[in-house]
């Protein structure tokens, strides 16, 4: 069992991650990843079931995550119909990882979103399968995998989940 202190730091990282996204503060979201190492994936649940290799978002290196932030902030602006996300996470498991100072964490996650006319719906539901590195006090994601139960998304996804 992990110490309360470690758990609290894992949770703090998770909360920072969701709050950054809900605040549309993508640079802050980027910072929750281990610099030059972090990876980010969104994987349709059906692919896990059927063992298919594709992801919906597939950032297998930190540079890709950086490019993603740039696309949202610089390329798509003024085109997409904007929306406001709100994340809810529930850590269901956290264990020491294979490498020293790393931890594996699984959480349930749901994301509600509100469109520009003020109506809310479920955007996404699934799990986070995270790998975290504890660098002294600061935890950072080495890898975040979002397993998307609702693999047919109700709209196109602009922001990371």
């Amino acid at each position: 069992m992990l110490t309360p202190d470690v758990l609290q730091r894992l949770d703090a990282l998770q909360l920072d991650y969701i709050d950054a996204l809900d605040s549309k503060d993508l640079p802050r979201w980027l910072e929750t990843f281990q610099k030059d190492q972090g990876e980010y994936y969104v994987i349709p649940g059906e692919h896990v079931e059927e063992d298919l290799p594709l992801s919906l978002l597939h950032d297998d290196c930190y540079a890709r995550i950086q490019d993603r932030v740039n696309f949202i902030e610089k390329v798509w602006v003024g085109i997409y119909e904007d929306y406001q996300m709100r994340h809810f996470v529930q850590r269901v498991r956290a264990t020491p990882g294979d490498a020293p100072d790393t931890y594996d964490m699984k959480s349930n996650v749901s994301v509600l979103y509100t469109n520009t006319e003020g109506h809310a719906q479920v955007l996404a539901v699934g799990t986070y399968e995270d790998r975290v590195r504890m660098n002294g006090g600061a935890a950072r994601f080495l890898r975040t995998r979002v397993i998307l139960d609702n693999f047919t998304t109700p709209r196109y996804i602009v922001y990371p989940l």
Partner: protein
């Protein structure tokens, strides 16, 4: 779906199409009665729909379930390797036979009264058959079969007897299909991106070369130039644009420019079909493209007049080495519902749907249009390529033009 044999007198008989050849009425995207007529005349009409690619059910006795509008379909690869399609309904009392998306099955058992069908749709067993209506014959009670033909692994279905043979229907698209399906169509499935657009299915297929460099800002932002290309428009309203999507010359803007490599072209020395890029619209509603190293089949599945599910289906070639396979998976960041240069399309379709009830009542295709022109001669960056299809649509739907 209303069964054709119970056709009703239809107030749509008075509907008038605009006289101008370059205009399309906005309400074809929003009127429920038009959508209902499409179910009969178009989706159940003399057209071929792409239901699957062999890559999705690669082995004998693999199946895939899908939809032609509101009609559920079961596609099965027989133990003889032949692709067959059936209405996905038990022949007894109509229970949907298979509810899984894909799978492997030698037999299909209906849960209600346990009638048992084999993978060729034959009724094999039914409990208490000896007490059935006199004259009942299992041979007459197999699954209702659907016409089904295959080309380069694409599995086409049609619900109508009047549809011409597939090769005739596809005439003119063969080179394009070979290009996007990597020559022989011998593919493996990588996975799906599935999403919903709040727009009519016809908006999704309404594609033009005019918008590409304008809507998709990535091209200008990355200083990414399209290459020369050509456009084909067929009699059936299919469209093939083989404008080159050249690999990006690294301008230092992307942190990870490797994503936009054109690996097959490099390997081929920049020559030949491997080095080409293309996008095809197969009437009525399937898009198939290969952008750089990324071949995709896009099924558009209407779920009502103003809602469409898009199933982006990503494939690789069976002969891909691990490096190429991994490259294609990475390149899926480039195209898809949430991807670098295609996220914008859904936004534009949704926004068009919301504004159907506006003046003027018609949309207009102006770029490259000349009255009386040969639509098949449209240029690669024109928007008139779709007009051939709209004319087919108008006729299939029985809409007369207004007097000019």
């Amino acid at each position: 779906m209303d069964m054709p044999l119970r056709a009703l007198p239809d107030p749509l008989n008075d509907y008038r199409w605009p006289a101008a050849e370059n205009e399309v009425p906005k309400d074809v995207f929003s009127r429920d009665d038009i959508y209902r007529r499409e179910l009969e005349r178009l989706f159940a009409g003399p057209v071929w729909h792409v239901a699957a690619h062999r890559a999705e059910l690669p082995n004998r006795c693999d199946f895939k379930t899908t939809w032609v509008a509101e009609t559920p379909i079961l596609v099965v690869q027989g133990d003889d390797s032949v692709m067959r399609a059936f209405y996905n309904a038990c022949s007894h009392r109509g229970v949907m036979l298979e509810t899984r998306r894909r799978g492997h099955a030698r037999e299909f058992e209906c849960p209600y009264h346990r009638w048992l069908f084999d993978e060729k749709g034959t009724l094999r067993a039914c409990p208490a058959e000896n007490d059935f209506i006199p004259g009942f014959d299992k041979a007459d009670n197999g699954l209702a079969q659907i016409r089904c033909e295959e080309f380069l692994g694409l599995v086409f279905v049609t619900l109508s007897d009047e549809t011409p043979p597939l090769r005739e229907y596809l005439k003119g698209m063969e080179p394009g299909l070979e290009l996007v399906l990597m020559g022989d169509g011998d593919c493996r499935l990588l996975g799906y991106h599935k999403t919903v657009i709040d727009a009519n299915w016809k908006l999704y297929r309404d594609n033009d070369g005019y918008h590409t460099p304008l809507l998709h800002k990535a091209f200008t932002w990355l200083n990414w130039q399209g290459g020369k290309g050509s456009q084909t428009v067929t009699e059936q309203g299919h469209l093939a644009v083989t404008a080159d999507l050249k690999p990006l010359s690294d301008t230092g803007i992307l942190h990870d420019p490797s994503l936009l490599e054109f690996k097959a072209a490099i390997r081929a020395g920049g020559e030949g079909p491997q080095a080409k890029t293309g996008v095809l619209v197969l009437s009525p509603g399937t898009l198939i493209s290969k952008a750089l190293d990324l071949p995709i089949i896009r099924y558009s599945l209407p779920k009502g007049v103003d809602r469409t599910e898009i199933h982006w289906t990503f494939i690789a070639h069976k002969d891909d080495d691990p490096e190429m396979l991994q490259h294609r998976i990475r390149q899926a960041n480039m195209m898809g519902p949430s991807a670098m240069i295609s996220l914008e399309d859904a936004a534009v379709f949704n926004r068009t749907q919301k504004a159907c009830a506006t003046q003027p009542p018609n949309t207009q295709f102006v770029k490259g249009f000349r009255p009386g022109m040969d639509l098949a001669a449209a240029g690669q960056n024109d928007e008139v390529g779709n007009l051939a299809w709209w004319e087919i649509y108008r006729r299939l739907m029985g809409f007369q033009r207004e007097a000019a």
